[in-house]
Amino acid sequence: MASQNYYDPADLKKFGNITEWSKELGEKFFEYYGKVFEEGALSAREKSLIALAVAHTEMCPYCIDAYSKDGLQRGITKEEMMEAVHVGAAIKSGASLVHGVQMMNKVNKLEM
């Protein structure tokens, strides 16, 4: 029976199933995804915090569940997690507010 909600926590476990309807693209995505989160110039720990911040700005409940747990597994503290979320929120609000300049430009151009 179909879920009555748009988001169901149980669906996160089924993420891998997207390969069923498009094997090649799905597999390529998961391979890429796995590679992105490996240790590199950035540590896997840093990448986890970035992912957590982006999960919030994207407002993806699956990603928030996944990267909250991932952070705990890596020993990341609550304080570090919340600071990362604030970084995302600051950029998100900054991104809104910086458009205020566009508004000002427009108003200044139109007004006598």
Binding site: A44, K69, L72, Q73, R74
Partner: protein
């Protein structure tokens, strides 16, 4: 609230909780998601890679649990240890263990509890056992015991005199996470104890006095990569407190006893079992500790591991007690498994010596 706090200071046994009964735990681990086929049982899983039945390899570790009494009541404890547990190994059983220690082919002797130091014959036993010339002699110390009472203050020196390898629990390098899992004030006392161990040479770079730490996740999640965690622990403990240690063992919490109780009460049980099954690593099965370990309980009975001991699953052998110990006969046994075994095969694997498949 007060009632809740008091409850947390008592073992499941003292609280007469259903989960203090081994069979109730085993029932829980075989019902619901495993009975309805949602998740495969552990035996089904290892059959996929032809690893059933699980059999011992060469015996390497003799792990002796000298009693369930402990000065702490940690929320995740698989032993259900605490001050109210009275199961303590007698000197008579210790003498039977010594006979085995003198003749075993195992290279590691691993004393655990509870807080092993609380056994009144602990020092005598360590003294005698250290004469047997076992290569690696481990005592699992919870650290706070060293600070719990004047009579334990000299433990670091005692360990040093017997060249004991100290393995201690430390769930996090921050106070909040540690105290939440292990009890109020545990972090500060653990830090003091670690400093005292460092002071006599334990854990110092290039020191032969081995001091390793055990990390268990403080909640319903799996441990991260052991090497990265070790790096983070070392950096934080050195910068914040000037503390040194050698290795970090990342250990997965197995869904039994108090951790099982916590999982059920916090409604994390099913998700946790899913996480364990998802993270199943067939390569870790080859090195699970039950394949190279014998676990001895306070009353001398023999088990495949300390977890099976708590589930009262004695070895499937005609030899079941230390008094009739025979390594050859014991090694020809099938290891008893249930769904808790997924805890030792998740990710990089988990054992009392940390990851097994790195």
């Amino acid at each position: 609230m007060l009632k809740e706090k008091k409850k947390k200071q008592q073992s499941l046994h003292k609280r007469h909780s259903d989960l203090a009964i081994a069979n109730k735990q085993l029932e829980k681990l075989s019902n619901s998601i495993f009975a309805n086929g949602e998740l495969p049982t552990f035996s089904q899983k290892i059959k996929e890679t032809d690893q059933f039945p699980l059999r011992p390899k060469k015996l390497e570790i003799l792990q002796i649990n000298v009693g369930y009494m402990c000065n702490q009541v940690c929320e995740h404890c698989h032993v259900d240890a605490g001050p109210d547990r009275k199961e303590i190994m007698t000197r008579e059983t210790m003498e039977q263990c010594l006979e085995v220690i003198r003749n075993t082919g195992a290279h590691t002797l691993d004393l655990t509890g509870g807080a092993p130091e609380m056994n009144p014959d602990f020092r005598w036993f360590v003294d005698e056992a250290s004469k047997a010339g076992i290569k690696d002699f481990i005592v699992r110390s919870n650290l706070t015991i060293i600070r719990a009472n004047k009579k334990y203050y000299d433990l670091p020196a005692f360990f040093k005199n017997h060249n004991v390898h100290v393995v201690s629990s430390m769930p996090h390098w921050t106070r909040g996470k540690t105290d939440k899992q292990r009890g109020e004030g545990v972090f500060d006392q653990s830090i003091k104890a670690l400093k005292e161990l460092n002071a006599v040479g334990y854990g110092m770079p290039d020191s032969d006095l081995r001091l390793d730490l055990v990390y268990n996740p403080s909640g319903a999640f799996l441990p991260g990569d052991q090497a990265s965690m070790e790096k983070d622990f070392k950096k934080a403990l050195l910068e914040d407190f000037g503390i040194h240690f050698h290795n970090l063992f990342a250990i997965t919490n197995l869904p039994i006893s108090r951790f099982l109780d916590y999982l059920i009460a916090s409604e994390n049980y099913e998700d946790y079992m899913y996480s364990l099954v998802d993270a199943y690593n067939p390569a870790a099965v080859a090195n699970v500790m039950c394949r190279n370990t014998i676990s001895v309980s306070w009353d001398g009975y023999l088990y495949d591991c300390d977890f099976n001991q708590m589930l009262e699953l004695k070895v499937a052998s005609k030899i079941q007690h230390i008094s009739e110990y025979n390594e050859v006969i014991l090694n020809d046994r099938k290891i008893i498994i249930s769904q808790h075994c997924y805890g030792c095969t998740a990710g990089a694997g988990s054992s009392c010596q940390g990851a097994t498949a790195t």
